[in-house]
Symmetry: D2
């Protein structure tokens, strides 16, 4: 599909301001980190913060500026270093070795950013920028904002000193709302993006699915509920688990969600170690744990279409990155969005009629449509203006380092 985007949905500022705003946000997210912090890579799935800063810049350079007549690359050697996985654009530096790049330094990467920003500003000013690709680049950068946070969280958790990304004291929410349900009659439902605003290729085309009547939980499963699952032997009862999940949980010795400290009393957060708040949504669970929890609860996970059918009609409220609390929080009102991504019971398959973006961005999403599970709804680390009800996030079922949580469903 062609890249079509609209940079001013819902009263947003013009492209130049929008570009500047999002780019500055990324740098603001990196600001609390030392040069050392920005360089570390804790596992192949995660990337250094510095790499995120550079790669998002590379994206604009390669997808837009390289076609501009007068643009000169900041450093031609960066082209391979900061290419993530675009094989049509060269041979990317090995993903698992990104943490080796002590050079360029954090300062040099900032200089690289500003070099590209100046060129982009000029191009936008001149009206020569393809707005669809610009929107893609900005949405791409927002995705990396969330990854920057989840990746540094993982790295800090590998350090016995357990540093806080941004120290803060969060009071526990006193009382959790009981679990409510939202009923849906099923039937023929349109899903996927049909709007004129920006959407990723994987959200298109809009199409009709047939749903049976169901209900979906009005909030995410919280830590108190998850503690009951643990206490009831949830991690020791194979009948609750998918076969691969059981094998993996055994092999890895899983006893609780990622970042729960031994004893299941405390949790490591971007704001430091704090007591587990029973009312807060559980996060950092794999799909396997989400599915096992649902089986234990006598429910199931919703399909991505069930989720979307309800979310379409629900208030677009939620706890996102903009709230500046980088951890899921209990809410007193029913919500479909924010706090933690909900694992769905849908594999990440292409929509009927799916077409990738044209040009080099064709590698953006399509080639990953295998072995992954769809997550919906955004998290406390997702920019609020980045999420949509048609948005399809995706991770392998074993992934735990994202803010991934559990929303239940059942047939009616």
């Amino acid at each position: 599909m062609s890249l079509q985007g609209n940079l001013q949905p819902r009263g947003r500022p013009g492209p130049a301001a929008r570009y500047a705003e999002i780019r500055q946000m990324t740098e603001a997210l990196a600001a609390p980190l030392s040069a050392e912090d920005q360089c570390v890579q804790s596992m192949p799935d995660a990337s250094p913060a510095k790499w995120h800063l550079a790669h998002t810049t590379w994206f604009f350079e390669r997808m837009i500026l390289s076609a501009a007549p007068d643009y000169e690359a900041f450093d031609p050697r960066y082209d391979a270093l900061f290419n993530s996985y675009y094989l049509g654009l060269g041979t990317p530096f090995a993903r698992a070795r990104r943490g080796m790049l002590t050079r360029p330094s954090a300062d040099e990467v900032l200089a690289y950013r500003h070099h590209v920003d100046a060129a982009m500003a000029a191009l936008i000013e001149a009206g020569d920028v393809p707005l669809g690709t610009l929107a893609l680049g900005l949405n791409h950068e927002q995705q990396h904002q969330e990854l920057l946070l989840t990746d540094i969280k993982h790295a800090f958790a590998c350090n016995p000193l357990l540093p806080a990304y941004r120290p803060a004291v969060l009071a526990a929410v006193e009382s959790a709302p009981p679990l409510g349900w939202i009923d849906h009659d099923g039937g023929q439902v349109a899903v996927g993006d049909a709007g004129e605003g920006f959407a990723f290729d994987n959200e298109r085309p809009e199409h009709v699915v047939s749903l049976r009547p169901f209900r979906i939980a009005a909030r995410l499963v919280n830590c108190g509920e998850y503690l009951e699952f643990i206490a009831d032997g949830g991690y020791a009862r194979p009948e609750l688990w998918l076969s691969d999940g059981w094998a993996l949980a055994r092999q890895e010795g899983w006893q609780a969600p990622l970042y729960w400290q031994p004893g299941a009393k405390e949790i490591f957060t971007l704001h430091g170690v704090r007591p587990i708040d029973p009312a807060e949504p559980v996060a950092h669970v794999s799909f396997y744990e989400a599915a096992a929890y649902a089986a234990w609860a006598g429910k199931r996970l919703p399909t991505e279409f069930e989720w979307e059918a309800v979310a379409r009609t629900w208030p677009k409220e939620g706890h996102f990155l903009d709230l500046d609390v980088l951890h899921p929080r209990a809410s007193q009102t029913p919500r479909m969005l924010g706090d933690a991504w909900a694992w769905t019971r849908s594999s990440y398959d292409p929509y009927p009629g799916f077409k990738t973006f044209e040009g080099p961005a064709s590698e953006y999403n399509g080639k990953f449509m295998i072995g992954q599970i769809v997550l919906r709804g955004g998290s406390c680390a997702t920019p609020a203006d980045h999420i949509r009800t048609t948005y399809r996030n995706f991770f392998p079922p074993a992934a735990r380092w994202q803010f991934s949580g559990i929303r239940l469903a059942e047939d009616i």
Copy 2:
């Protein structure tokens, strides 16, 4: 769901005769193999023929006979040895180590079979056998008949002597039919099993899906066509591949389907090494290769529902195990079934309203619904009376040792 089966679909014999027929078929398939051949395990995914003979027997013993009042186990130690993956029934012997079981000997395993067969015959005669579970056991055994063949094929291919399972000379088909297409208007289509005959739990319940107009190829991709893909650099062009597939193909050095001999002139078959017949359906490709081929051809793979929508209405003809040619063969008429399983573009997710079988057989299918791709249509190694148009076979996308092939589709 409860196990419901009908042992006499379409004029078949009664349960006792049906039981005897299928059980004898398994032994007949093992008969060309020496005791050594029956013991070998060439990879963790494959099992020794002797193990298949024993495990299918264990299934009847554990699912039916163990509840019979007077039954005495042949050897109580076999219970763990021949349990495949039923954690509710104990701790199975390690899958990857099945080839270590030189004892019990092939003769002892046959004695075990006959012990169980005698008890089953008595139970059937007495009318005390649960017919649904009996049907499950027989369908289970038929699945292992196919696996016995694909597993020994893999083992023999690991031996530089390349032994033939059953030596035979197969003449090449002189001319291949051109590729025809079957159009479908899409719309609301019922899929899944609603019949009264036997079906696996994963085929149920019947439900409606919305399809867009499409067409599907009237035959599988053949070796001649696949050779064009290879000649056109199919294995060297990352833009055709899913990301995981590309990485795996590089890592494993894939240059052609499994069992193609170096040079791509000859192919190892259960009947020995023979020249590649351009007209015969290509088989032993992974899902990754199937998807890359489809991308190269400018088409796509069908979803499992597109496949089923067409197959429901198409003649139930095909080349199955009963034909006794254990290799895909060119056909002059359009067919949806047989020769080679068609990889679909559908992940193996549960159907809406899916429920596992009740009792110990609940572990049969449901716990594997992750990380796998649906294949449809049966192969030259599938018993003809085992296949259905609602039948969902499933393997990980990297699997190549099954008779797995390619059927194209496209939007219209």
Copy 3:
């Protein structure tokens, strides 16, 4: 060095009889095994019994018969299949895949043996056989006799049925002799082979080493003593262990020697499972365990030269394969030989002036002189006429599946 051997040391029969005797011994050792047993390979370090039968035959074919004018190979395809590691003679079939060779069958391998035996007999009769190479081939075959036994023991131990190679009841020895010591004054000592009989290249040349005064235990450490080590936390105290050994013991969960059954009351032997006899020499320990035991006992392991200096002067008595008890047994008299190989504190380095055999047998020993430890003295599975006091056996320090035990030493 040139291959020099003497086929009639100490009143043995002539070459033809000697050849026949040793070759028949190998077949006799395989006789209790079914075709399935002979085919199985339980780990890459071990080989199937059938492979031992074939490889020892290949050795005569390749080292002797292939130079004979009229010899015709039994099957030219066997040349790569049964080449172990002689890269100068082609590309051997992958070691870790030897268990895949269900073909040739056990019967065919026997036919192969007899084909080669007939040709060898004719050659010996004609006086055309190079006696040194013949001696090498026979000593080589004796090495594989021991390996055949240790390898099938490992394979049977992987089977929960724990089959006995040759069922037998062994009474425990009532009382163990107390641990005696043999003193040695040290000084300039000649070690290594200088004789005219057969020796491997790694035993040559004879040379002088300087020893300090020491004493060496007059028997191997027994199971009762080893049980004290276990009871005293031997497997849980890192200060007793070499660093690599500690890491490996943790990783593998070692709590006792290989083949000790959980609870440390019973032991799996080639004669079946039986109670641990405290008086019997402990076997199936790694070098790491031997060194940790010695540290715990306040002693050390002897160097290979200390061992040899004493063994040269000691009676050549011991419990070997010919005794037909395939398990270490307590002895009432001091012994340097038999029962179990003693791990020494000597790395397997070349002797000063070491030269490999000439010709294709140059790959026999020299290329393995890295990462291995010398063991001395032979075991209950070593043919009595195969051992010498200069004999250097060698295995990696982690190896446990040989009859490897512990003999202590200390400075005086």
Copy 4:
């Protein structure tokens, strides 16, 4: 053995000055590195520069200061973080994860150093420091000075930008001296340390070995000679290699020493990429390559005792760290020391009568005496006053990231 050391060998300054000098040297070596550079770990065998700075400090804190009555730890959490492998002193942080420690920062580690330095200075001033342990700590720190350089070299080589540790232009030496030889009559030779100065426990006790007549090369093999080995198929001829080395070279695709750039024209050095100088000693070869080269040259590697017998009597000249050229350089005079460590043909076994240091330092050397090869002579990255002719360095035979080279020997 007890730790005995002499801090004023050969006219050196007193303990306080000596301590300050060596400690400052370490910081000077880290000075060219950014905080990012100091944090990176390129493989489990290598450590971050910051970790070296901290661990050497920990060593003084733990071995000396922790026994001082008034000492307060800088941060008690550092005790586990910067413990390398002393299991008697707690549970060290995982070696392979040292690169995760972005905190403490480089600045905090310097503050840690200065805290310990102040306490050490006071203790030395007060005359309360055990001089033997002090000498051990300083020799330990010098070992880490060399490792700091070899580890950062490895890290930089992983970065496609190939940063120079300290940019410099090195002119090639115009003419290489021909290879000369030093003859030795063999006989009874004393080896090992018997002096009153500091030596590691692994160098003791002095003892006598018997040597046969031999000669040893008067310089290391140079790159020009090694290029001939490559050109003659050195990396493609299995008959030259030890079996493990051949397998590893195949697996890793070795075609030249580490750090040689593709095409074998240029080499990465701590001073940047530069043309290969044929006259300079070849370095960064594994023991396997050294042994293969020697086999190709028709020579062999010397034993550690042959090397020592000659080095004892040879001028103590060589190119060491103090020369400030961090790369091997051709010399016009025969030398036994410096430039690159010489792989010997001696496994790292304990000397007869070997005793470890007493106390926590007992884990210093002894527990690594398995699976390693002795190297002798020091390198361009070894402090000149750190090396001795009795000095035994040791690494696994596969190690290539040290300045390890080749010195030939042969029998006469």
